[in-house]
Structures are given as structure tokens and as C-alpha cells.
């Protein structure tokens, strides 16, 4: 063989081929090193600090977990404790709940075996950590009917949990039963086929039937659609919509009712389900909303079911009988531009969304229309197809709008195992009319310990001025909320809230061009929910059930005051940082009102004519010349011959580094010196390498770091990578668990507990940063729930901007206390997943400012400080700085890429709100769809993605060198991003001895080994080929 030259010749080519493939792999893996880390959960580079003489200065942020065991237990403890406070008891007839702690129960429904633990995509729960429902219930003492369990077990016997679409690890969900158009419930016949004796032990496990119904949700995908379009073939539902129960689910419910005296339904969904039939059914004893409980959340469910914890959550979204009839639903989904095909592919032009419902989303619509009917202002008349029948189906004839037919559970609804009495003790309006002190006392009047929520609402006058200038007013709006401590029976707690009255102001884009306050009568009210509070206000206005109210109100729970004088366009016309507030998105290139481009196109819903202005679907629009220019995402020409001789880049005369700026103030004069050191190319390289990554900037000593999604903990990294102050956990390998284990953010909002949200920010986001060395965590999600059908609601908080804003603000303050550079997502108006990249979102400026932006504003201005923090001297240093990071949205804002909409990104966020931090796009890369040069001008500091599109030819120092505005924007953006990083955990553990070192990850070891082996094989084959040739030449035989 040694003499057979053809063998060695062939082997040399084989090994050379494998050597080439190995070299390619090495090149690609190193090019996308940080992305590979994110995808496979490795860490290929580490930060090493050799000397820590002054540890206190070096380690600004200190983790509370010194070992993997502590971290694992800490995340788990918080997840369980939090979860039990996020379940809203919606119905509890005859005190059906709580059950005894050792109750013998029968679980019904496919979700009773395979519940939705969390999102199916984006911020998914950690499957490695997940404790399954039946194990959690059993561990807590419940005895489960084994026959029924066996039937479901048989169904899933050959099925496995899946891998998440984004992020790493295991998703605790079965692909076979994860769909938006089919609940995949099993019929009784199917159960019988799986276990003929599934129903034999009902009598032995009859303390309660617990039926679990659910709907999946998550990032991406097409989401939910109403009516027939949203149902798979053969799927029939109660209201005709996929968010009501299917025929198969109802069969399961009926089976439970027929065989059990006590039937409890758990609603395992974050989309508000249409469950009017369950509420009205006297044989359904209890209903509890559990949302997505997370990896350990069914311990919490058991704790609530058995009474260890009294439920204290309240709905953060209204539950309608038929959510498809909300005015927002008239414009939803894929509504393409007629001339979308005229645009270049890279401009990413597809569809548009005209949010003609104005401010009337969620409870604002239902409660305001109800109030107008009670007040005799109209609203009862309703056109076919816009209102619900008593059973929740869509009306097919013109008729009468009736609140009782429309709403199942109001916003803010939630029961407890005890009862509370609340009094509105006092309301003191500050002399400058900008704040009010509202004092509420809550007393536990029942027999169990529990927490209560003080919900404070307001009503503002709807005047002729408003009607003239198309300003809309909700009949009731949440102003603030606080949660009590656990109150023992008979115990009371008094809480004083300082309410921000700027949230009462209305945005008048037509006349004043700023926020105004109308003269007239204002009401504050407390209530068990938004409807109860409104009824209290209506009672104060002299109304009773004789006027059509659903219940009598309590005038003693209201406070009335008058705003005297003329329309006030001054008090709230200046933001908290002193910036004058003026129209930002009503006209010009950055307009969000479609009427600014195509006059007369949209009619916005007005309470002055509910039926006449009820939105229609605006389809079939073509972009005109102006819109086309904007949609093209190339709206500001790049200049080439500006004088830029005075602008300094790449200055090498300074020794200043980013390490010297650790904790520096934004106004610190040294920033200019530091920024002058950076070259334009360095900035562009930084900005274009931002997929879960903070790229190094060599000239100023900024090291490279990993970053990660998402709002519920790290998506890709595990405690096996954990460390404490730069030293890897000794027990890391024993804890292959993630940090995304808590209930979903929407659950946390439903707790209505700012302190709990703060703690979740500290641990879920903050400790993920410190334990896993991830200075940036992409979260929290703060988009508003525009309607019930967006499938990504679980990542966001609520339909209400104050609940969203204050819970989000608390989470951010908690996270930033640990050094997390949060990236609030998504600024702004990411209102649906359908066509989320490229869709052009239009609305009037009042809606933009009073709904979505009002929520975001609370986080950027560090508003919503809990009353307990305000009263605690040790918390004086909290809520001192707003969010330092944001992620812009995929959708267009108006016609312009969100990151390039200067009206939102600059005028409102940077100027009015004083945002000084990091602003990254949402996985666009440097591509035309992100309008890169316009986005840099609008304060974008990075483009999440992995590549620079071929058609962005100016992405280099030379390309920008003749445009003064661009170069100034580069300097400004450097200031923003470096300030944010210098005040984050990116600087944790940093001193003059700090540097980065490569780590031999498994994939590095693999390609290095392959290169070595195949290089040796190639060389060896060639040598042996030469040897064989020589032997042959010497006359030897082969």
C-alpha cells in the first residue's frame, strides 16, 4: 500500500477538502463569534482583571449570588413567589376556592397536561428548569386523578418538547399542540381511545374538576385572527372567534360539569379570552386567569388554589365577550399598499395600519361608550357588525349597544379570598396643579389574610372645545395604583400616592399644538376595577341604575374639583426637563396622521358620534409621491462637500479611556476629549456589530461584551457560565439552568405591584446581567396591548399606559440598580406581529402621545416611584435616572423607519423626555429598511444585526466624510452610547489591569482540532505520495 501513489494522491485531495472546510468553519465562526455564542450559549471571550486593589471602586455592582446554587435558588424563589401574586381570580361562587391542601382533584383539558408555560417565541421559559403542572400540584399536596392523567400521558408519550425559534435551550411546549388557529383540545372519544378508563375514577377524585384552557402566544408568526379566518378547518367556537372556547373544549367543560359538583376553570392565556359563557354558567364555580406562569409557576398556582396565598392580581386588560368587535380590530392584519410592488425590495414596503380608533383602545372604549349612554350623550345606536349579542356573537342587524353584552370582566377586575373595604381619605391638589396627593385606606374585612390594590381613576370633562378640535376624552382613566402589604383580617393600611396630573392633560394637535387642560369638573375615584370606579363617578354625577348604570355607585369614593378659567395650554406644555412640548408627528415627513399625507382619508372614532365614526377598514390605499419618497427610506441626501475641518476624529494625543469615565455624568467635559479619539470607522464598526453584542472600540479601550434578549431573563445563556466578580462559579457545571424562569411580564403587570416589579427587574434582568456578564439585556417590552388579538402580548404589560408605564419603570429601575443597560422594546407602536417589519403605522398625535408614548414616557422619566419607596429614606437614590437604553421597532412610524423618525426619536424621546442613552434598532442590520443614515441623524447608536447590506455604500469613514450633520450626529451618538455604557455593568470589575482573553469553547476546540488533523493528513498524504513516487522511480512495484 505504501507504494501505491494513487492512494496517497487521492487521500491528499480528500484531506485537503476537509482542511478547506475546517478553515471555512473557523473563519465563519470567528467572524460571527458573538452571534455563535448567543446561539449556542457559549462565551468565547472573557474579561480578566488582574489586580483588584480597590475592589469597591472596581465592582460598582455586586451580585447577590456567590455561587450557582445561590443563583439557581434565588431565581427560583422569586419566580415562585412572584407567580402566586399574578393570578387573577375572576369568579368564585360560593367560595369554591380555596381547595383543601390535599384535595383529590381531576384535571381536564389538554392544557392540564401540557400548559402554556410561557411564550412560544421570544423570551421563552427555560425548559431545563420547568417543573410540570402535575409534578408541581402533586408536590404541593394535591392528589390527581391518575386515570385522566394517564390518557393525556398516552397522547404525549411519543412527543417531545421543542427548541425555541429565537434563543437557546428547550421550549417546554409541544409543537403538535402549538397553533394560533386551533386549540388542539382532545375530544372525549379521543381520551377514551387513549385510555378506555379515563373516567373511571371521577368519584374518587371529586373534590374538584380543574379544567385548564389555554392559548399560545409569542414573538413572530402570523398571530390570531378573528372569525373564520382565524380558525383552522373544522374548528368551531362559542363566539366564532378563536379566542373563545372550541367545541372540543366545551365538551370537556360539559364533562366536568356533568360529573363534578365543583368545577374550576384556569385560563392559561395572555390574550384576553372570550369567556362570557363561563362567567354566566352557574355550574362553573370558579375561574382564575393564570396567564403564562413560567418554569416554576404551577407551584404558585397550587399555592393559590389551596389558599396558602390569597389571590391578589387584577386584570390589566379588559375581557370582552367578543374582542373582535373592538374598534381597533377594524384595522388589523395585512392591509397592503396598492403600489407596494413599485418599491425596491430592500426598502421593505409591504402594508399599513391606520389606527382609526384613536385613544379608544381597551377599557377606554367600552367604559366611555357606556358612560355616554348613561349620561344621555348617545352611543346606544349601533350598526350591524359593530356590537355583540347577549351570547357574544356578532350582531347581524342594526340595534342597541349594551355594556352587559360587550364586557365580561372589566379592566382592573380581580377577587380575593377575603374582602376589603377602601376609603378615599383625601385628595390634595398641589398649588401648581401638577400633582395631587391621594390617600386611600384599605381594611381587610374578611377572614383571610391578603393583599389589595388601591386603584385610582379620573374623569376629565369632554367639552365643546374638545369636539371642535377633535380631542377625545376617556370617561375613566387609570391615574395610579398601589398594592397593600399582606393585611391580616381586621388590619388596615393607609397609602398616600403622589399622582402626576400631567396624565390628565389631553394632547391638542389641531389648535394649541401642545397639552391642554379644559376648564370644568374633574373627578377622582377609587374602585375595585375601572367599571366600578366609573360607576362611582357617575353616581357623583347624579346617575343611578335607573339611568342605565349596571350597578349603583358610591359617591363617597369620589373627589370632585374644578379647573377654573379658560382652556389651559400652559401648565403641561413644558416637559419635566423644561422642554417646550409641541407637535412632533402631526405634519411633515415624520407625521403619523395619514390625513397629513392623504387628506380626508381617515375618520377617527369620536364619542361625539360613536356610531357615525366607528372605524371602517382602510384598505386599498396607494402611496402618493410624498409617501413614496418617505417609504423609500432614503429621505435625507448625503452631502459630500461640507467643511468638516474643525471636527476631530481619531485624536491620538489623549490617554483618556472609557474606564476613566466610569460613572461619569453626561455633562462631564471629558466626554469631548474621549469622543475625539474615536474614528468614524470605529463608530460604524461598533454600530454594525450589535447583534447581542457590544463591539469593542479599541481607541478608547472599550472591550467587547456579549448582550442578550430578553424581557424575562437571558434567552441564550445558562448558569453554567455564571461567575461572581469575575471568578467562575465553582459549582457552575452542576446548574445547567437558565434565568428565564419567572412568570411572563404580562403576569407581573397583573400583580399591580410596583415593588414586586422592581424586584423582578433587580433579579430577572439585573442578576442576569451580573451573573452572566451581559451588560445589555433587551427588555423590558413596553408596547401597549392595542387589542386582544396580537399574539405577542405576553412580553408587554397591559392595554393601559399607566399600568404599563409604572410597572415597566419599576422593572427598569430595579434592573439599572444592578447595572443592566436595559433596551426597552419596541419604540414604538409595534402593535402587531403581522408584517411587523416594514408595516407603516398611522394614528393621530393624541393617540400616539396619550397611549403608547405615555407608557414609555414613565420609564424614560423614571416616574411611578412606589409610595413605600417615597416614604423610605434608604430608597432615596432610586428613580433618579430614567431608562438608559431603548430598542426601536421593526415597523415604520408613519411612513418612515421607526429609528429614523426624528419626531419620536429626537423631539419627544431625546428632547422632551431627556433620554441620553443607547438606541439600537431591532435586528435590521445596516440595511435600507433601517434607513441607516437617517437613523444615525435621529440618534440611533447601533443596528442590531450581523451584516451591512450591499446597497449601503456609504458605511465607511470616507462615505460620511463630506457631511457635517452626519459627522456631528456620529459624535452625538457616541456620547449617548458611551455615557450609557459608562453607567452600566459594562464597567463592572474594570480597572487599568482589565483586558479580554479568548476562551477555548467547544466549537473553537472542534475547528482547531479539525484544522490540525486535516493539515497533518494533507501533508502526510503528500509526503507519502512523494515517497511512493520515488519508490516507483527506483523500480519498485506498487
Amino acid at each position: 500500500m505504501w507504494k501505491r501513489s494513487n492512494i496517497w494522491r487521492g487521500l491528499s485531495l480528500v484531506s485537503a477538502t476537509f482542511l478547506t472546510v475546517s478553515l471555512l468553519a473557523a473563519n465563519i465562526l470567528e467572524t460571527y463569534r458573538t452571534s455563535v455564542d448567543a446561539f449556542v450559549g457559549t462565551r468565547s471571550q472573557k474579561t480578566v482583571t488582574e489586580s483588584t486593589e480597590n475592589a469597591e471602586d472596581t465592582w460598582t455592582y455586586v451580585s447577590q449570588f456567590k455561587s450557582a446554587k445561590e443563583a439557581y435558588e434565588g431565581f427560583r424563589e422569586l419566580a415562585v413567589r412572584t407567580s402566586s401574586e399574578t393570578y387573577a381570580l375572576l369568579k368564585n361562587d360560593n367560595a369554591a376556592l380555596p381547595l383543601s391542601s390535599d384535595a383529590k382533584i381531576t384535571l381536564f383539558g389538554i392544557r392540564s397536561y401540557a400548559p402554556v408555560y410561557g411564550n412560544s417565541g421570544g423570551s421563552v421559559p427555560d425548559g431545563k428548569s420547568t417543573v410540570q403542572i402535575f409534578d408541581a400540584f402533586t408536590e404541593r399536596g394535591f392528589q390527581l386523578n391518575p386515570s385522566m392523567l394517564a390518557a393525556y400521558e398516552a397522547f404525549f408519550a411519543d412527543k417531545e418538547w421543542t427548541t425555541p425559534q429565537f434563543g437557546g435551550g428547550i421550549l417546554p411546549a409541544y409543537a403538535e399542540v402549538t397553533a394560533y388557529d386551533n386549540p388542539h383540545e382532545l375530544t372525549l372519544d379521543e381520551l377514551k381511545g387513549l385510555n378506555p378508563e379515563y373516567n373511571k375514577e371521577y368519584a374518587a377524585y371529586s373534590d374538584a374538576a380543574v379544567v385548564v384552557v389555554g392559548r399560545v402566544g409569542g414573538e413572530g408568526g402570523d398571530g390570531y385572527y378573528p372569525g373564520e379566518e382565524g380558525r383552522a378547518e373544522g374548528v368551531e367556537t362559542v363566539t366564532g372567534n378563536i379566542l373563545s372556547l372550541s367545541r372540543e373544549e366545551m365538551e370537556i367543560v360539559e364533562e366536568a360539569k356533568a360529573n363534578f359538583d365543583k368545577v374550576i376553570v384556569l385560563v392559561n392565556a395572555t390574550n384576553p379570552m372570550e369567556i362570557g359563557n363561563l362567567k354566566d354558567d352557574p355550574d362553573i364555580d370558579a375561574i382564575m386567569w393564570i396567564g403564562y406562569p413560567g418554569a416554576y409557576g404551577f407551584y404558585g398556582v397550587a399555592d393559590v388554589l389551596n389558599g396558602t396565598v390569597s389571590p391578589s392580581a387584577h386584570l390589566g386588560d379588559i375581557f370582552a365577550k367578543n374582542s373582535a368587535l373592538a374598534p381597533a380590530m377594524q384595522n388589523y392584519g395585512n392591509i397592503p399598499w396598492e403600489n407596494a410592488g413599485d418599491f425596491s425590495e430592500t426598502a421593505n414596503v409591504n402594508s399599513y395600519l391606520i389606527e382609526a380608533e384613536g385613544i379608544y383602545t381597551g377599557y377606554r372604549y367600552y367604559e366611555t361608550r357606556y358612560a355616554d349612554i348613561v349620561l344621555g350623550n348617545g352611543g346606544a345606536e349601533a350598526t350591524a357588525g359593530t356590537y355583540a349579542n347577549e351570547d357574544g356573537t356578532v350582531s347581524e342587524a342594526d340595534g342597541v349597544w349594551d355594556y352587559a353584552n360587550e364586557v365580561v370582566y372589566p379592566f382592573g377586575h380581580g377577587l380575593s379570598y377575603t374582602t376589603f373595604a377602601q376609603t378615599l381619605d383625601s385628595v390634595e391638589i398641589a398649588d401648581d396643579k401638577k400633582t395631587a396627593k391621594v390617600t386611600v385606606t384599605t381594611r381587610n374585612t374578611g377572614n383571610a389574610a391578603g393583599k389589595a390594590v388601591a386603584q385610582v381613576y379620573a374623569q376629565t370633562p369632554y367639552t365643546d372645545y374638545d369636539k371642535q378640535y377633535h380631542i377625545e376624552k376617556s370617561a375613566v382613566q387609570l391615574m395610579d395604583f398601589e398594592k397593600t402589604n399582606i393585611l391580616e383580617p381586621g388590619e388596615s393600611q393607609t397609602i398616600t400616592m403622589e399622582i402626576d396630573l400631567s396624565n390628565l392633560a389631553s394632547y391638542d394637535s389641531e389648535n394649541a399644538g401642545t397639552y391642554i387642560v379644559d376648564p370644568g369638573t374633574y373627578y377622582f375615584a377609587i374602585g375595585d376595577d375601572s367599571h366600578d370606579a366609573l360607576n362611582n363617578i357617575l353616581a357623583a354625577e347624579g346617575k343611578t341604575t335607573a339611568d342605565g348604570m349596571t350597578a349603583e355607585g358610591s359617591t363617597d369614593k369620589t373627589f370632585t374639583w374644578n379647573w377654573e378659567g379658560e382652556v389651559d395650554a400652559e401648565t403641561f406644555a413644558v416637559s419635566k426637563n423644561g422642554t417646550e412640548i409641541a407637535n412632533a408627528v402631526s405634519a411633515g415627513d415624520y407625521a403619523m396622521d395619514i390625513n397629513a399625507f392623504l387628506p380626508g382619508t381617515a375618520t377617527y372614532l369620536s364619542r361625539s358620534d360613536w356610531n357615525g365614526t366607528f372605524p371602517k377598514t382602510y384598505s386599498g390605499l396607494s402611496a402618493d409621491e410624498t409617501l413614496s419618497r418617505l417609504l423609500g427610506n432614503d429621505l435625507i441626501p448625503l452631502k459630500t462637500d461640507d467643511d468638516v475641518s474643525d471636527l476631530v476624529f481619531g485624536d491620538t494625543s489623549s490617554d483618556l479611556t472609557i474606564n476613566d469615565m466610569k460613572g461619569a455624568d453626561y455633562e462631564d467635559p471629558r466626554w469631548e476629549e474621549l469622543i475625539n479619539k474615536v474614528t468614524v470607522q470605529e463608530f460604524l464598526d461598533f454600530a454594525s456589530n450589535a447583534f447581542h453584542n457590544i463591539a469593542a472600540i479599541e481607541s478608547i479601550g472599550l472591550m467587547q461584551y456579549a448582550a442578550d434578549d430578553g424581557p424575562n431573563g437571558s434567552d441564550s445563556h445558562y448558569l453554567t457560565e455564571g461567575s461572581y466578580q469575575g471568578v467562575p462559579y465553582a459549582d457552575a457545571q452542576e446548574y445547567d439552568y437558565g434565568t428565564r424562569v419567572g412568570p411572563t411580564p404580562q403576569n407581573i403587570a397583573y400583580s399591580w405591584n410596583k415593588e414586586l416589579a422592581y424586584e423582578n427587574g433587580e433579579i430577572t434582568l439585573g442578576e442576569s446581567t451580573l451573573v452572566l456578564n451581559l451588560p445589555i439585556i433587551i427588555g423590558p417590552g413596553m408596547n401597549i396591548h392595542r387589542h386582544a388579538y396580537n399574539s405577542r402580548g405576553a412580553e408587554y404589560y397591559s392595554e393601559d399606559p399607566i399600568l404599563t408605564g409604572y410597572i415597566g419603570s419599576a422593572a427598569i429601575q430595579g434592573a439599572q440598580s444592578k447595572g443592566t443597560l436595559v433596551n426597552i422594546k419596541h419604540a414604538a407602536f409595534n402593535d402587531q406581529e403581522v408584517n411587523r417589519s416594514g408595516i407603516a403605522v398611522f394614528m393621530n398625535e393624541q393617540k400616539a402621545r396619550e397611549v403608547e408614548l405615555r407608557g414609555l414616557q414613565q420609564a424614560f422619566e423614571a416616574n411611578g416611584k412606589p409610595a413605600s419607596f417615597a416614604a423610605d429614606e434608604s430608597k432615596a437614590d432610586t428613580y433618579t435616572e430614567g431608562a438608559l437604553g431603548v430598542m426601536s421597532s421593526y415597523n415604520r412610524i408613519g411612513a418612515v423607519a421607526s429609528s429614523a423618525n426624528s419626531g419620536i426619536m429626537v423631539q419627544i424621546m431625546r428632547e422632551e423626555w431627556g433620554f441620553k442613552g443607547y438606541n439600537v434598532t431591532d435586528f435590521t442590520g445596516v440595511a435600507l429598511k433601517a434607513a441607516p443614515k437617517e437613523s444615525i441623524l435621529a440618534g440611533t447608536t447601533a443596528f442590531c444585526g450581523m451584516s451591512i447590506s450591499e446597497d449601503i455604500t456609504y458605511w465607511n469613514g470616507e462615505g460620511l466624510s463630506g457631511d457635517r450633520d452626519m459627522l456631528l450626529a456620529v459624535k452625538q451618538d457616541l456620547h449617548y452610547l458611551l455615557y450609557a455604557l459608562a453607567n452600566s455593568a459594562a464597567m463592572n470589575g474594570i480597572n487599568s489591569t482589565t483586558h479580554t482573553e479568548n476562551v477555548i469553547t467547544w466549537w473553537r476546540a472542534a475547528y482547531m482540532s479539525a484544522i490540525g488533523i486535516f493539515a497533518v493528513m494533507t501533508a502526510g498524504s503528500l509526503v507519502l505520495y512523494g515517497f511512493s513516487r520515488r519508490k516507483k522511480a527506483e523500480g519498485g512495484k506498487e
Binding site: 494513487n6 487521492g10 485531495l13 478547506t20 451584516s947 446597497d951 513516487r1029
Partner: protein, 143 residues
């Protein structure tokens, strides 16, 4: 004089044909569609071109060269093909990153450029495989 072709020559010929088609695809995807506006990397063109010439020489003029020289041409053409593959792949990785890893829509022309390029790469690897097979074969002079 009529040339006598051996099995190895057919294999090398197959490699040359596959290389040429692969090269045509490389050039097509580099100068049209999504990548039309980006500069063309000519190294794979040069590499593949020389490799094909060497293969042609190997088929049609091998009798003029020693066995060692012929083998050197075969190994050299394989090395040039592998180098072309290396450059070709690296020039298309960013497309794959966009198309396969960015979770939202990308221009259809980008996916088209990627998928046509993958077809080209398959042909390049087929050419490499054909050369490997040829290398393992004994030529008449070696028997």
C-alpha cells in the same frame, strides 16, 4: 492522431465542466441581482480559470508530461478549486446570515442570490469530488 481517453480523463473532464458551470454561477450572482452593486472578488474566477486550464491540459496533453508533473497538475487544480470554494463561500456568508438568522423579512433577491450561489457551490464540490475520484484511479502509465 485520435486521442485515447481514459476513465480518469472523463472524471477530470466532469470536474472541469462542473467547475465551469459553478464559476458561471459565481459570476452571475456577483454581477446581477442582490449583489450587483457590490464589487466582484475576481480571485475565485482566476483560481477556477487556472484550475480548468490545468485540467484541460491534464486531459488532452498529459502524454507530454511526466507522471509527477501530471499529478502536480491534478493536485494543483484541486487546490485552486478548493481556494475558489473558500472565497466563494466567504463571499456569501453574510447572505446566509441574513436569510437564515434574521427572523424577519429580507429582500427576495437576497434569498435568490444565496440559493443560486448554493447551487454553484454544490457544483464546485461536485468538481472537487470528481477530481478526488480521478486521483484515486490508476492511470494506464501506473498499471
Amino acid at each position: 492522431m485520435k486521442m485515447q481517453l481514459e476513465k480518469t480523463d472523463y472524471a477530470v473532464g466532469l470536474a472541469a465542466a462542473a467547475s465551469l458551470i459553478g464559476l458561471a454561477i459565481y459570476i452571475f450572482t456577483s454581477v446581477s441581482g442582490y449583489l450587483a452593486s457590490s464589487p466582484v472578488n475576481w480571485l475565485p474566477v482566476a483560481g477556477t480559470g487556472i484550475a480548468v486550464i490545468l485540467m484541460a491540459v491534464l486531459i488532452f496533453m498529459k502524454q507530454k508530461f511526466s507522471l509527477l508533473a501530471a499529478d502536480s497538475m491534478m493536485i494543483g487544480s484541486a487546490a485552486l478549486l478548493l481556494y475558489s470554494i473558500y472565497e466563494f463561500v466567504l463571499g456569501r456568508v453574510s447572505l446566509a446570515a441574513d436569510v437564515y438568522f434574521i427572523p424577519v423579512n429580507y429582500p427576495p433577491s437576497e434569498a435568490a442570490a444565496l440559493h443560486i450561489s448554493i447551487a454553484g457551490l454544490v457544483l464546485y464540490f461536485a468538481a472537487d469530488l470528481a477530481l478526488i475520484i480521478a486521483a484515486f484511479m490508476k492511470r494506464s502509465e501506473e498499471k
